[in-house]
Symmetry: C3
Subunit: 317 residues, 3 copies
């Protein structure tokens, strides 16, 4: 397991939610809640990260996660540079570390990295100087910790204490870093019941997601839940589901109002976006009264403010 | 017609100059004039837009209009993010709105959009939350309101009151958003005479540009005018002009010193840039004493400062 | 020779180190040393360039030099915009100048330009308005003055007075702007001995690098030197070296621990990066105790802070 802490026990990196303690998650969610409210009031600005240099390393510059981190950093007074480079697309090993050492020598304090290759972030974190923090913005199919936190924040905001809730994660669980981070945070917060729901070919190996009930149809999987977390399906996954096309996928696994009616009447629906409307989710649901999808986006900024502030060790009063 | 105002009557969006009142244009030009002078003195900085988040949505990041908006926003203390995404290149309808709702949920206050597709900006403006403003940075062949304003500012600065002037807009009128916005602003400011001048195939439909005299040769069209507004010609338009190539186009429709001599001796020449030198304009004219082309660029920053400040409702004292 | 000074004798541009006086270089290195120490302490922030607009014009956005300039400018309070356009890739002559005049009309104060074409920077400098400074971030094979300064700063920091040192520049001298700027600065600072070392086909014409001893093997060239400045080799240069591939190049010309042992035991090794490990340099050397390669990167930020501050004429106290 990656050690994400400093010698004094404080959180230095956030590469995965694995190994993060419940009190740490609670503290992050508390700060994020504070910022979420300030954002809604239009007053979420301070200078606690003045002088802090943040680099974002993404292959594509305009993803919502990258922009969310940039906005979060700027609202705290940090300087954020978008480097548009992907570490694992480079020659492996030393050459990747040369890039990392260069970023460190340029006096970046925080590296926000999205990478398609498992293990790159831990490798970077293991090599950077003690004053540098590494934050994951999505790693392979493994981990997307700030997404997990924003999902938890959104659920808590709309449904109250997590330990009272039955939560279903639905769709392409197998390939989803969103599902894995959500699972970790909801398990840590002791959700009453956790389910994974999806076509047989897209459910994970049996040893993964311990403690989750598994369902192969939405009809069964959504029965009585408080929270429906939809995932994005990639078209290249249809083969694994033995459905020929998007229309058929929607017919069998799309979240329609009828299927959502199996959940509790006050259940909420999440989606990490971008949505494939008419494929994994019906527009009536995406835009309906039970959807909290836009709230997730706003909470993403708040969560990233909390995470940046925390790893930089500069909590605002 | 798009409603660009808030309930209290103040300007919220600037998508088109159509429907903007004369007193509103005069107020914008007045503020822009103030900023133009401050820019020239090197003192055009304030913090009136502190905490305001501006997103620019352009397909290409380095156009002069995008940079001009960014510089304008920064000089007022706003934070400007370049998102390098084009709304209409995305799947239509709800998917485009998902992007817009995401930007809104990220707490952007102002969206500056350039789009090749007519109607996209109005569609966005009709759906964003009340606190978000939409500014056009060029829409299809229809509208480029800040360009129209900077043209008006430049003309007024060099020639005084617009209602005393004869103005010729010259070139590919049919496909030009610059021409349409110029026409709207000069008509609103009651130019003494407005002409459109161009090859027959590039003049607009007869019902467009009401009140403009039409000329098919520069020789006739420039006779006695105070202002010559040149447009950029795209090479793919030559076919419509029945000229085989750039050299021939220049021979027939290029603005040469000889043709410019038909205008008043103190006439000024504008061009929105980038210029095709030796095609629609001779370098002697572009760089000559009657050219105010570089002043247009500087006035563009000033106009965009005025527009940003106005839609944000935070006029500096 | 390009005149890089204002009428009052102060440095306005930095396009080449040719013609820069020793006292000017010493002053720049002194300021850079000050900033290098402040960076290491985490306190290299001031507002001396508040209100100064810097544009970087690079073809690619994420080079380390561009990022280094941006970080340097931001630490001094300047606003830095990355324009991602390359002047010489545009139509030559007037069209390039249109771009330059536009940047000037947008009120940019400093243009930081990397260009593959010799002469573009001097051409720009000759045409911009008096208030605009032009800084080279690398010009063809000719010049990379801030790299030369950061090399000098790094050497002085680790080895003391340059005039006591024997310095070998090693590799593809012929095509290297890094070599030429290093040569100029070390010559100006009166290095005790300057050598150029490389495969015969990659040594420069005999009239270049006057005063340098020439060596065709590393074994001879490194004998007794205090400083080894490695250069990056491009694979397309192998032909000129009459070696068939990277492995063979490394076997004959790579800097190995054995070859480095010919230098003085306390010799230092520099490399401008990115490194081709296993081609021009062995990893044991690159990461070894004599390597100061990471210090070069940090010194690059410090040097660019000093240069920006100096050409803007706003020295912090």
């Amino acid at each position: 397991m990656i050690d994400q802490r400093r010698a004094d026990g404080s959180l230095r990196h956030l590469i995965t939610l694995e190994g993060v303690r419940r009190d740490e998650v609670e503290a992050l969610l508390g700060r994020a809640q504070h910022y979420a409210r300030a954002l809604a009031r239009g007053s979420a600005y301070n200078r606690v990260l003045e002088g802090v240099q943040v680099a974002t390393l993404f292959a594509e510059p305009s993803t919502r996660t990258r922009v969310s981190f940039e906005l979060a950093g700027r609202r705290l007074g940090a300087q954020v540079l978008n480097l548009e480079l992907q570490l694992s697309s480079r020659v492996k090993g030393e050459s990747m570390l040369d890039t990392v050492y260069t970023l460190q020598a340029l006096y970046f304090d925080v590296l926000v990295i999205r990478d398609a290759e498992a293990g790159v972030l831990a490798h970077v974190a293991a090599h950077v100087a003690p004053q540098v923090s590494v934050l994951s913005a999505g790693e392979a199919h493994l981990s997307h910790p700030t997404q997990g936190l924003l999902d938890a924040l959104t659920v808590r905001e709309h449904k109250g204490a997590i330990d009272q809730l039955a939560i279903a994660i639905v769709g392409d669980i197998r390939h989803s870093r969103v599902a894995r981070s959500a699972y970790q945070v909801f398990r840590l917060l002791q959700a009453r019941e956790l389910r994974i729901v999806g076509p047989p070919g897209l459910l994970p190996e049996s040893e993964e997601f311990p403690g989750c009930a598994r369902f192969e149809t939405l009809e069964a999987g959504l029965e009585g839940v408080d929270v429906v977390m939809m995932l994005r399906i990639q078209k290249e996954r249809f083969a694994a589901t033995r459905v020929p096309d998007a229309a058929e996928y929607f017919a069998r696994y799309g979240l329609t109002p009828a299927r959502l009616a199996r959940a509790r009447p006050d259940a909420i629906v999440l989606h990490p976006q971008p949505m494939n409307r008419g494929i994994e989710i019906a527009s009536e649901v995406a835009d309906g009264p039970q959807s909290v999808i836009r709230a997730q986006v706003s909470n993403g900024v708040a969560v990233r403010m909390a995470v940046l502030e925390t790893v930089a060790g500069r909590l605002a009063q």
